[in-house]
Structures are given as structure tokens and as C-alpha cells.
Assembly symmetry: C2
Homo-oligomer: 655 residues x 2
Amino acid sequence: MKAEKEIKENKRTVDEAALSVLEQDQSGVETAFDRYLRMQPQCNFGRTGVCCRICLQGPCRITKKADKGICGAHAYTIVARNLIRSITGGASAHSDHGRHLVYTVLEMLEDKALAYAIEDPQKLQRVAERLGINTDDKDEKEVLAEVAALALEDFIKASTDPCKWLETTIVKDRVDKFSECNILPRGVHTTIAETMAQTHMGMDADPVNLIFQGLKMALCDYIGMHIATDLSDILFGTPKPVTTEANFGVMEADMVNIALHGHNPLLSEMIVRVAREMKDDAVAAGARGIKCMGICCTGNEVLMRQGVPVLTNFLSQELPMMTGALDAMVVDVQCIMPGVKAVSECFHTRVVTTMPNAKIPGAHHVAFSEDRAAEKAKEIINLAIEAFKERKGLEVAIPQVKNKVTAGFSVEALEDILGELNPDQPFKVITDAIDSGQLRGVVLFAGCNNLRVLQDHSHNEIIRQLAKNDVLMVATGCAAGSAAKMGLMNDDAVELYAGEGLKSFIHSLNKANEEKLESNKLPLIFHMGSCVDNSRAFDLATALAKQWEIDMPKIPFVASAPEAMSEKAVAIGSWWVAMGLPTHVGVVPEVTGSALVNGIALQVAEDVYGGYFIWEEDPQKAAEKILAALDERTWKLRIHRGLADKYETELSKSY
Amino acid sequence: MKAEKEIKENKRTVDEAALSVLEQDQSGVETAFDRYLRMQPQCNFGRTGVCCRICLQGPCRITKKADKGICGAHAYTIVARNLIRSITGGASAHSDHGRHLVYTVLEMLEDKALAYAIEDPQKLQRVAERLGINTDDKDEKEVLAEVAALALEDFIKASTDPCKWLETTIVKDRVDKFSECNILPRGVHTTIAETMAQTHMGMDADPVNLIFQGLKMALCDYIGMHIATDLSDILFGTPKPVTTEANFGVMEADMVNIALHGHNPLLSEMIVRVAREMKDDAVAAGARGIKCMGICCTGNEVLMRQGVPVLTNFLSQELPMMTGALDAMVVDVQCIMPGVKAVSECFHTRVVTTMPNAKIPGAHHVAFSEDRAAEKAKEIINLAIEAFKERKGLEVAIPQVKNKVTAGFSVEALEDILGELNPDQPFKVITDAIDSGQLRGVVLFAGCNNLRVLQDHSHNEIIRQLAKNDVLMVATGCAAGSAAKMGLMNDDAVELYAGEGLKSFIHSLNKANEEKLESNKLPLIFHMGSCVDNSRAFDLATALAKQWEIDMPKIPFVASAPEAMSEKAVAIGSWWVAMGLPTHVGVVPEVTGSALVNGIALQVAEDVYGGYFIWEEDPQKAAEKILAALDERTWKLRIHRGLADKYETELSKSY
């Protein structure tokens, strides 16, 4: 069985904890790492986007012999259709998340979802003001009702008025650009329906027209995400700096270990709260207590607000069970491998599904409902305690790999920290540092894991390269999870990896915030939250653009998704580009089958929107390209601002 | 070039006109018939539904070696997800169609789309009453405004109140069934967003849960279609019997020949009207006049209301250009092969796209807008006249194949005709005929063409078999187009093919309606309209169920889509099954890769909803299975109604 041996040896990860579990595993259980290798070779038609399954005459695959689909569709039509349906899937997932929060707020306002409350009235006030809601003489609930009504309207409306969550969160020049290009959406749902219709058999064959609709769709993705972030902050509090740990070492053999996996804070926040109250039940079962920890973005949500440790990120989600120490994995929505169920069968772990639209056959299903949130959380935790009891006497092998993480950097938290250096214009602290050459620009790390490349390897390499080159970095989602696990998201990493400019920048902020930050000294890379919180990263970009008084295509702010995997990542990358920002993707998406569509992504997009994609799988080259993209903008910005002469000499040194 | 020769020889159609064009063609132009053969062999992973491209780690294909996707998804999850995304595509297309009509009505009510008016106030009144709108003391426009508001609400709403177009058009038992199974949709768009989210990577892995959501989605397809039919009737009139001709022979060499292709009456109705006014322009250009003719469903729309001849159906849409006689092909939305553009380049034909969401690179694009409808129609017709002038002196070879067609059978028209025999209970004429054994049941022929089987062959064979066996038949879409082209949709066919029971049934209706029908004697199979007008066929089924006072799963009414091709067909078939009716499909859809999902479609569906699928590619066997499905229900119905004894002997003879 040479193949099997190779499969087992080829681990495709640089995460020490994951490697340790994979190496020590005696159970023979199958994980994504095995399934990936068994799936090789993968279909190159699908891989390059030229497989069409939209009608029942297909599949049609573009080859030299068959250079068009049966209907006559060229590769460019097929690739563009597949791409924008993928954006639609992503936008739908984010809208589902945001809509769930809107429904919960509406229930709360009807005195139903009693476990929820307005945790952050300041955020509510800020959001309401931004939306143009008159809050005079209104109580919090009235204001929230108006906010929720506008949010619902952005989802459902079919009128051509601009969506509130787009219009009020971006710079005016972008609104004008979108209006000029006719990609201002009628509403999130209407655009989803439109895009699915436009990609139906015998509809649009024009790739440019299709891609413009795809960008309209992507803007809806942004709207859904921003609504999700705003409402989550209002219900659960806006994140502030918090320090904890990350990776498998956070599990403790004598605790009831519960992994919270998925994306939405509605359930995970409740479990974290109820777990604190149920300590005695765990003690009664022989445990020292209950330990909650996060996987993927529901993990990021409770990390950011509650300091819940990070267990792992997407790709290694099955592995914590293989330590024998995980008592329950509670999942809500998105990025949950169905494979977790099969792995759990070899161990004592309870896999608990909770949502009506994300079930796994054979898993425990506790139907979560907002109006019985605490009760349901208790039911779930009891399943974990029961599993813990079964675990007694069984061997547990927790890799002692963990790293310190300082997270919780909402835009509000950053503003607060920067404000200690410049209370009137907090973001000028960053723009000044870029203008002066202390920083070379800002980069967001976002996205997932993807087995096409070594897990966490590119994240790790690119982050270190950019740190050395004085790039200010923020992160979200599984990219943030990667940095956290790898020990890059703490103050030690600043000393180890930051270049002089970045180091001095962070030191000066630490110094100015000594009292405020306490033990939460600033990290090398700032965790801004879950995937939906890419809205926070974009708000930061907008704040910088406003500070500079320029449109987005001029700011030295780049996004990088070294391991993009999900349709949500495709959607995020697309709006990031439409918003005017360069976007690196470390796995080439399914567009290379059409030189035309690929060219639009890599070049034409810049002419129209100012943003563009960079496909680069090699992390060294990716870092170079990201730096070049930043430098190009910084250079132009300096000329624009009359600073060119002053810094020209220094900048030219770096080439 | 043996392969090329085989490609040219294998015509894959039984349509004489299409065959004639293909055989005589000297141009070497490429059509779908060629592209289909060049595409062989097609991918069996896609063909059986086990190829997953939902995340960027894929494509994953289920094989013996790799029996799960990289994420751990089983074949059943992958197949179910692909299936319900397909339903979503179809429902989105139909909702786009319906929403377009709603937008037009709203513009009309704002005195913008002045070319449109309330053509059928009686239909408006009927629809308003059905929706529970109080019409007292309201003028037509006020009533229409309320109807349009409710229609828009069904598309956009997110509340859990039942959608009006579902609740008010189906029998109460069905509403209860859908409520009990939790598949009453919140609204069309919300459900599209939900379904795309539920099929995102790492969401639902439960095939039953996925399929239930797919059925909810399919009910939204029904809603969008029914809204489209109702509003079209209000704006353009409810169809009444009308006689014309079908197939390539309807083109006339000395006329400006314009093909109207696509799905929506908004543009095609306008072109038909304006063409009548522009006869002099055509004459000035040397033509005898302007001849409009239809392809696909926009053709069905103008056939049903204006008696416009049928040129052809889906698969042969490229061929009329190859006669050299087609001056323009005007397309709106859906089922338009991008291949038409390439074919037109070898001839003088103008291919004119008109809609913002359905463009073809290189085609003439006249941006149609409702508020300048007549002007735009004129612009398009002028392009055709210009092309006619170019045609002078060029060879034209129109196959002299055409058949008489009597169409226009809306439910209202049928009610009117049946009412001559039973004014109080018109549909009792049908139920009595079934109760008495004169008719064996009712079958709807719907759906498309699909190159997997010989074009029109199955339609032709099954229709003749069922006619011989006294089945009352209705048809829509390209299935109706097929029957029309083949000469099955006229009174001669009754004499040629109908069994004694069916013949006497139709004769008695003809006799009772002699004055009313004039030259429109009833055909063998009743044309109920375009694809969206499957709502009409279902209204007929509902009328029969109400007449019998039973729920849908008990009525002997079967649908057959011998050549289903588009996602719309998948959606229609799915709601037809959810509504409780057996549904034959003549090309096996992409579900056979999961025995579980396939079993749900073929068997489990019946246990829950009363409807089920029958996959059968062989037309003889299909006819037998359809008859068996009818007989099973007729038999049970007779027992239920205490008629078993009376007819048992006769029925048993037929076995």
C-alpha cells in the first residue's frame, strides 16, 4: 500500500499541533488531509472554470475539439457564469448570517429572544447616526427597531435607492463610481435572484456584463457582512483588546473541552455564557471546569469579545477530536466539514449540529432557537459533560503546542489606541507613518485554508516578509487563526519579526497606551475578527482614505487571501477589488480557462475600479508583489501630496 | 475526416424541416447538433451529479477510491446540493420574468410605460378577487396597484406569512401539507438567498433537509410563474382559441421575416403590434409585408394571444437562419443559444439582443425599455427591413414544412368551452368523462428539447400513444412547440390519432361550441402557453381536484417532460411533484450518482407529498408508465367515490 503510505506521510500542513496529531494517530481515521490525496488528480476542466453544468444537456467541457458548449457558449461565458454563481453563493452565505441577526433583533424587540440584549448602546448610537436616523427622544429599543428595519430593507428591497449599508459606509467617490458603472444593487436578495437568473441557460453570454453583475453581487456580500458585524457588536459588544492562547495546547485533559465551530455569535456567545454558569455541573462530573474554545469564525467571534482561546482553523477542524480530549464540537453554520461526524465516531466526541439549515446525518441535533437560547445552550453543554464522563480512563494526547494571542481590534478599539497619540485625528497616526515612510502601507490577511497549498505555510511566510518590510497588518477569519496558532499575533512577534519602522510604530502606540492596554501589548498583526468582519478591515481602509481625502484606489492598502477556499472568499475578494484595492489570492481561482476573464480580473478591473487581483501561490513572490502594489500607491500618493521630493531618495533605496 | 462526416450525418432530430435544412446546408456553419457530437464523450461525474465545485479545493468527484469529497461530503450531499442549486437557477429565472412584469406594471401605474395598458379587466378582477382584494369603488388602476403590490411582496418578503400566489391558488390540503412539512416559503427572493446559503461549503450535509429546502425553492418557482401568467394576461389579454401554422414553412421569401425568440411578452407583444403598423415601410423596401413568428416561449406568448405562427422550438433555433430567409432574430431572455450569433455571421440575419441581462458579444443590441417600448420595437423592425434589403438576389431555401395549429387554451378559455356542456360546473365535464371511463386521465406535456435524445421524437411518440389511450392532453413551452410543428395540435390529429373515448369527448365539445369556436376546432392536444404557463396547467389540475373535492395526490393528472433541459424544467418538475402529481422526465437528471437522492425522487417523495418522478428515456415505456400512473389514481378514485363496481369490468379489460 505505497499510495496509502504516501497519503499518510504527506501531511500538507506546517501547523506543529496538527502534524503531531497526524503523526501519532493510530486510529486510522480519515481526515481531509487523506481525502485530498485520494482525490488526486483533480479535474482540470473544473479547475480552470471551463466545465458547464448549467443545463441538462451538459456537462460541457471546453477542449480543443469542442471549443464551445453545446449551446454555443464560449469559454469566457462559461467561466464568467461559474465565477459569478460562486460570488452569489458567498454573498448568500453572508446574507444568511446577517439576516439571522436581523431576525433575532426583531424577535428581541418583540420580547421573544429574551437572552439577548443591547450590550453596546454606544455602537447602536454610532450605527444609527451613520444611517441618518434621528435618535432624539428615542429609547434604545426604538433606535434599534429603526436600525433593524433598515437592515431588513437592505436585504429585501427591490427599489433602486442605494442600500443604506453601502451608501453610508463607503467614500462618496466609490458611490459615484458604482452608480456610473451601474452596479449599485437594488437589494441583497433581489441581486441574488437577478444573478442566478442572468446565469441561467440561454441568458447572458457577455462576460463583461456577467462580471459587472458579479461585482454588484459582491457589493451585496459586503452589505450582508457589514450588517452582521454592526448587529453583532450591538448585541454582544464591540471588541476590545484581549489576550489568550491558540492551538491544540489550549485543551486541558481535566476540563470538559467544548469546541465552538462555525460562524455566528448568536449560539456561541450563549454557550460561553452558560458554560460559566455550569461550572458546578462539570465539577460534579469529575472535571475541573468547562473550557470553551473556538474553531473558524464563531471561534473568532468569541475570541474577540470574550477572550475564548483559539483551538484551530478550518483545515485542521477534524484533528482536535483525535487527541481524545475534545468532549463536544458544537457547530452552527458554514465551513463545517461533514467529515467531522465520521471522525467523531472513532472517539467519544459529541458532534452537535444546531441550525435548521446545516445538519449532518447521524450527528446530535439540538435545534437552537433564539427564544430558548439559554436552555438550548444548557442542553448542548450537558451533552459535553456526558461525553466527558465517558472519557474517564481513556488515553488523551494533547500536543503541547500553543501561543499567546492578543486580539480584539475592532476599528473602534484601534481608533481608541491611535487616539492616544492624536486624539483629534486618530487615523492620521497611520497616514502620517505611511507618509513619512515609517510604514510601507497596510495589508489585510483574510480567507481560509485550502489543501491545494500547505496549510498555514503561505500565511506564515508572507506575514513575516511584510513585517520585516514595515507593513502594518490586520487579519480576519482563518487567516487570523493561522497567525494566532503560529505565534505571530502577539507582542513577542513584534520583537522577533518587525522591521525597524513597524517596530517603532507599534512601540510608540504601546507606550502611549500603557495604562489602557495593561497586559494586552500590541501584536505584530491585528486581529479584526471573523470573516464577516472584513467589513471592519474595510472600514479601516475607508478611515485612511478619508484621512488622506482621496478615493480608495489611491490608498496603499492591499488584501491577501493566501489560502482562499470558500465562495465567501470569492465574494469578498471581488468586492475588495471593486472597492478599489489590490487583492492577492494564493490559490489560483477557477478562471484561468478564459484568458479574457482572467485578464479582466488581473488587469481590466484596475482600469475601471482601481482594484485588481494578483494570483500568486509562491509566498516569497506573493510578498514581493504585495510590497510592489503598496509601493506603487505610496509613491503616487506622495507625488499627489507633494511629498515626493522629500522621500524620493529613501524610497528609491528600497529598489 | 470520418468523425466530421458522422457528425454531419447524425442529425439527432425527427423534425422534417430541421432535417431538410441540415441536409441541404452548404455553408458548413456549426450548430448545436454538431457541437453536441463534438462534446462526446461527456463527463459521467457531472452527468450523475457527483462532481462538486462548490469550494476552491475542488473539483471533488466521487469514485471508488475517493468515496467522499475533500470536506467529507458524501455523494448524497453533493448530488442534493447540485440538484437544489439547479432548482434555484430555474426559480430565479422564472422570478426574473415575473418581477420584470411587476416592474412594468408599477411603471405603467406611474404613467411611464405608456405603451402598456390593462387589456383584460375581467382577468384583473378575477385575480384581485382570488387575492382577497376588496375592489368595491376602486378603479382598474387602483386594483392593479394592489395586485402589483402583493405580487412584489411575494417576491421580496421575509415574513413567515404564506405567499399570496401560493396560498390562494392551491387546494387547502396542499397548504396544510406544506405547512406541516415546513416548506412554506417566506418569499421568493428570501428563499433563493436561503437555498444558495444552505448549499454553501460546510453548510447542510443532510440530503433530506436539502431536498426539502429544494422543494420550498420549487414552490417559489411556481409563485414566480403564476405571477408572470396573471400579469401577462392582465396586460395583454387572456388567451382564447386561435389558429395558425407551425414550422419553417411559415417563413415567406417575399416578406420581412422576423423571429421572436425568448420568453417574455413585454417586448414580443410590442413588436407584433408595431410590425402591423409598419407594413408600408416593408413594402417600400420591396417586401410584401412583415411576418413575425415565434421561437421558444416568447413565441408561445404571441401565438396564444396574437395567433403569431410558430417558427420552431429550442433545439432548432439556429436553423431558420440557414434558409437564408430570416431577416432578424429578436431575442429577450432565456434559452437563447449564444450560438445564434455565430450562425448569423454566415448569413444576412440580424441577431438583436434587447435585455440588459442577456447580451451576446457581437450581436446588435437595442436596449429595450418599457417606457420607450414602441420606439424600440420600431428600431428593431427597421434593422430587419434593412436586412431584407440586403437579402435581395440571395438564394433562399425554405423547407415547405408546416402544420396547422390551434392554440390559445387558457384555463378561462377551457372553462368557457366546457361551460357549453355544463354551465354551472364546467370542469365536471372532464371529471365525469374520467369517472365514466371515457377519458383515462389528463397529461401535461412540458419542457424543452435536449440533445441527449432525438429532438421531438419522444414528444411525438408519447403523445400518439396517450391519444390512442384516451388521455386528455395539454401542453406548454417547447413540448407544445414540438406538438405544433409535428401536426399534433389541430383537429385533423384528433381524427388520426385519438382513441374512441378521447375522440367522442372532443367531438362533443366541438359540437357544443360550434358557433364559438368557428374555424378553431379543438385539437388533439391543448396548447396552454409558455413555460411560465405551466401555472395554467396546474390551475386546471386544481380545478379538477376541487371538482372532485379531493387533494392533488388523488387526481389522475400526470406531467411529462420528455426532453427536459433547463434548470427551469428541474424547478417545475420539482414543484409538480411537491404538489402531489407524478412527473415523467425523458432524460435522467443528474441525480443517479446517489441512490439515496434518486430514491427520494422516485419513491420517498410519494410517501410525503403524493407526487413522484418517473425517469424513462424510451418513449414506448414512458407512455406505459404514464398510463399506469393515471390508472392507479383513476382506480383509487373510483373506489373512493364508490364507482369501482360499476367500471371495474371495463377497466380490467385494458390490462
